[in-house]
Amino acid sequence: MAEYLGERESGVERLRWAVRSWQLTAAMWTRAAMAYRASFALMLVANVLITSLDFVVVVLMFQHTDRLGGWTLPELGLLYGTSAFALGTADLLVGSVDSLGERIRAGTLDVMLIRPAPALSQVCAERFSLRRLGRPAQATAVLAWSVSAVRVDWTWDRVLLLAALLVSGTVIFSALFIGGATLQFWWGEAKELQNSFTYGGATLLHYPPTVFAKELVAGVTFGLPLAFVNWLPLLHILGKPDPLGLPAAFQFASPLAAAGSVLVAGVAWRAGLRAYRGAGN
């Protein structure tokens, strides 16, 4: 009853309510999608195929060489699996936020803002579809193969680090999705811009850092925190030297980077909502 009257809620309760709102909205979309069940299987298959293409390219490259930038195929598999898993899971959970500009133009954001639920939860769950499971599913398959094929002694610290990087990576990509989408409050047609950070970032992380110019690697370490998704922790797991020669602490700092990204994305989202000008008009 206290909730019904809208008493002030603690931070934890607000977070729980945000998650609950996401679940409620996503459930509605899942139900709405049932109306078109026929194409669901086809779309899921297509999704698995299209998201696998990037790895097929890597495999084809390794038909002509056994090392790329000094890394073997199973090692690239680890890069690919972790990066695609993080991107795919983030896309499944919050990826719809990238259509914010369309939501604004269609007036759907106004409708979300009159509901007693966080607008961000609703935008992220908009058009939720399980077909987006395609990418994390195939990424998990590649990851499983690489973990067994790569020459690594899977001690508990490495296993723990791998688990931590999957979670942190998902959080970092989610923050990039949200932070990037926030630009659309000011620049409504900028949807494709954030593909550079999200999909572009994931493509970057499919390949070893040794392939790229040092400036670029530094940019995604100290600018956009992409290097924390998998490069830095995998350097530790695989026992490879850091091309930038950074202190070893960086290789364990992914959770911190994730927390920082969430903070920045959250502040940006709030600023965007304040600057929101309404649909139409």
Partner: protein
């Protein structure tokens, strides 16, 4: 008790307009410009003005969708911009041109979601749903996907969705736009019941003066973001000297019709337009025309808000 309070509220938008081929100029537009008013609990207020006057911007600030640039604003004891979700539980909103219902799902599912999102206690939810279903005759529609509903049916569905959580204030943005006459009547009846029966405060924007005549004891007129009139409907007609129009189709072209109580404002072939004061009855004029001229067809047009306001400007210089 004052439910809605505005004090010197303003909202400016920055518009980038194209100047010449490449240069763009930034310009500030004050959509709402120093607006102050109070609405008491249980009132039904019509909020009107020409397109772009700032009506929607006001409603959006009152719901917390838009953050005001300046001024103080309280609705149901809450600052909308600061505590939007808290406010959302206390207000109901219906956008005439935008549905809050789920397009592909049966009407019932949208209400079910509202129950959870608004955390409505079960007994309360059932009682409110039953009442809305009865008053709005939604029973046979509950299991129909929203996309299959007619505009009028959907509007009724939207009204119910906005009221399930017992809001203290109901905002309606053009609730009768595009509806047929029967649907309009039904929607108005329901709103009257909600306002006078349940005591819900109603703030209504509309282009249809009949909505206001039949529902609202008070009218606020806004133009260029400023309040230009706040008072009873009679006062508005008196100030604006609004006129209704009788459109008459005769058997053939004729000299301008001369009947008492009306004057011809336009002639186009066999069709003539006669203006008469909005508060007068049309019946004697129609009778006089029918008696003196070969009448084929006729219709009465209600005064458009724009005309009323335009005439207000002509009459009362706004200082």
């Amino acid at each position: 008790m004052a439910l809605i309070e505005l004090e010197d509220v303003a909202r400016t938008f920055t518009i980038r307009a194209k100047v010449g081929r490449l240069r763009r100029e930034r310009r500030e537009v004050r959509a709402v410009d120093g607006l102050s008013f109070t609405v008491q609990a249980g009132e039904c207020v019509g909020y009107i003005g020409p397109n772009g006057a700032g009506k929607s911007t006001t409603i959006k600030m009152l719901t917390g969708i838009l953050v005001p640039s300046a001024g103080r604003l309280r609705v149901a004891g809450v600052d909308p911009a600061r505590e939007r979700t808290r406010l959302a539980r206390r207000i109901g909103v219906v956008f005439g041109q935008r549905t809050t219902l789920w397009w592909d799902l049966p009407l019932r599912d949208s209400y079910e979601l509202a129950r959870r999102i608004y955390r409505i206690p079960d007994a309360r939810y059932r009682a409110n749903l039953d009442r809305c279903v009865e008053l709005l005759e939604l029973g046979p529609l509950l299991d129909t996907p929203v996309r299959q509903l007619s505009l009028g049916q959907r509007m009724r569905g939207d009204l119910a969705a906005a009221l399930l959580h017992d809001p203290q204030v109901l905002y309606l943005d053009e609730p009768t736009i595009g509806l047929d006459v029967v649907s309009k009547v039904r929607v108005r009846e329901f709103l009257r019941e909600i306002n006078t029966g349940a005591g819900t405060t109603v703030l209504l924007t509309t282009h249809d003066l009949t909505d206001i005549e039949q529902l609202c004891g008070r009218v606020m007129v806004i133009d260029h973001g400023r309040m230009v009139y706040d008072g009873g409907l009679d006062g508005l007609h008196a100030t604006g000297q609004s006129e209704r129009t009788l459109v008459v189709d005769l058997a053939g072209p004729s000299a301008p019709i001369e009947v008492p109580g009306a004057r011809v404002v336009k002639v186009d072939g066999a069709r003539q337009w006669l203006a008469f004061p909005a508060e007068d009855s049309a019946a004697p004029i129609v009778a006089a025309v029918a008696a003196g001229y070969p009448l084929l067809d006729l219709s009465v047009r209600e005064p458009a808000i724009e005309d009323v306001i335009a005439r207000m400007y002509a009459k009362v210089p706004i200082g």
